[in-house]
Symmetry: C2
DNA sequence: TAGATTGTTAATCGATTAACAATC
DNA sequence: TAGATTGTTAATCGATTAACAATC
């Protein structure tokens, strides 16, 4: 498995370079990027080397070229269909966030819930009953899912997705789920993020 | 600054130990915990040593004692007031999640927004206009904030919070914000998490 | 040319793992 | 006692930083 920090940084490089571009810059030095992101210029150059991004000893790096390269690395034009299971407040927020995702090559194509009130097969992003989840994944060859169900349903839903050999799950439940041979799971725990922030900040005395 | 991974693990230890407790276990070995979390038993013992959690060579660790110790480390009974700026879909989801947070010593005490429709100073968790933010933070000695405003407002809001020397910010905007001498910022970027998952899963060929 | 920056190699740092003595 | 597990030290691993030759 590859260094996840490095991939995170690739995404922050993209963000900051777009900002540079917006204020009219054409070229940047590794120093500029390092300063903007609070990391060392060495690390920027190491990362660029790793991802095959090259510059010149004279003018540094061409922002446009880096951005093109990053999009190619991320496979941005290879659109990925993603489903969301659990259309509560968080799931619903992510569902309505689809326009932001679509700019990154991710297409939120459907939601799933058990609550009949939430169902709507006619809307732009349809919401289907959870018992249709397996069939939908198979028929549409879905590779990625976001799980925002209550804790009590988490285990079952993740097992179903694993059984379908889905490629990746972004898991927002507090269940710490493990990868399988075929399914990669990233756990995002907002409660933990907040607790960790409070703990760390409070011991900076 | 202390190893953030170690603190994350402390929180997952808590989760998994509660699960163990729920199925009736009293004692665990470092091996059990390692297996449940896919980490080595060595690391579990190292972490426990670091946080001052001790066991015995005979019966391993007493679950109840560890949990008590973890809550003490996290300062769970020292309630922290937290505000949310930006009551859109995500902010609103977090606001309604307050019961889960309160179990962890975090009290969501107010929200802020610019949209008059969102304001409500009468509800259990009041929502005030953003121009009252500074005053509220000062009057109530608020130490922590969650920022869920649109990208365009992010810089301004974070600058205001920094000016108030707030201790910690959980930043959900795509602005990569930097710590100051007095303010610690943790950035959570859901879009990045999803992109990273897709990228990593797609190159596991 | 002199100066500055990249690309890359070597050095450092820190986290994780392995090993094992102590001990229940 | 024999066996098993903790607590801790030593070894390993990998990521970041420092340094610098190449070069524009």
């Amino acid at each position: 498995m590859q260094n996840q920090e490095r991939i995170s940084r690739l995404l922050t490089y993209k963000n900051v370079l777009v900002q540079f571009q917006n204020i009219g810059l054409i070229k940047v030095f590794s120093d500029n990027i390092g300063d903007a992101l609070n990391i060392s210029a060495s690390l920027v150059r190491k990362d660029f080397g790793f991802f095959g991004i090259t510059g010149s000893q004279k003018g540094g790096y061409d922002i446009d070229s880096i951005l093109t390269r990053i999009d190619a690395i991320l496979g941005k034009d290879n659109i990925q269909n993603v489903i969301i299971i659990g259309i509560g407040r968080l799931g619903s927020a992510l569902l309505h966030h689809h326009d932001v995702f679509s700019g990154e090559g991710v297409n939120i194509c459907a939601g799933f819930d058990t609550d009949p009130e939430k169902l709507n097969s006619e809307s732009a992003i349809p919401v289907f009953p959870v018992n249709q989840l397996s069939d939908y994944v198979e028929e549409n060859k879905i590779k990625f899912a976001i799980v925002t169900v209550p804790e009590s349903a988490a285990r079952h839903i993740i097992d179903v997705l694993k059984a379908e050999h889905i490629k990746g799950i972004l898991n927002f439940t507090s269940l710490k789920a493990k990868n399988t041979e075929t399914t990669l799971i990233h756990n995002v725990n907002i409660e933990h993020e907040l607790t960790r922030l409070v703990y760390t900040a409070n011991r900076q005395d």
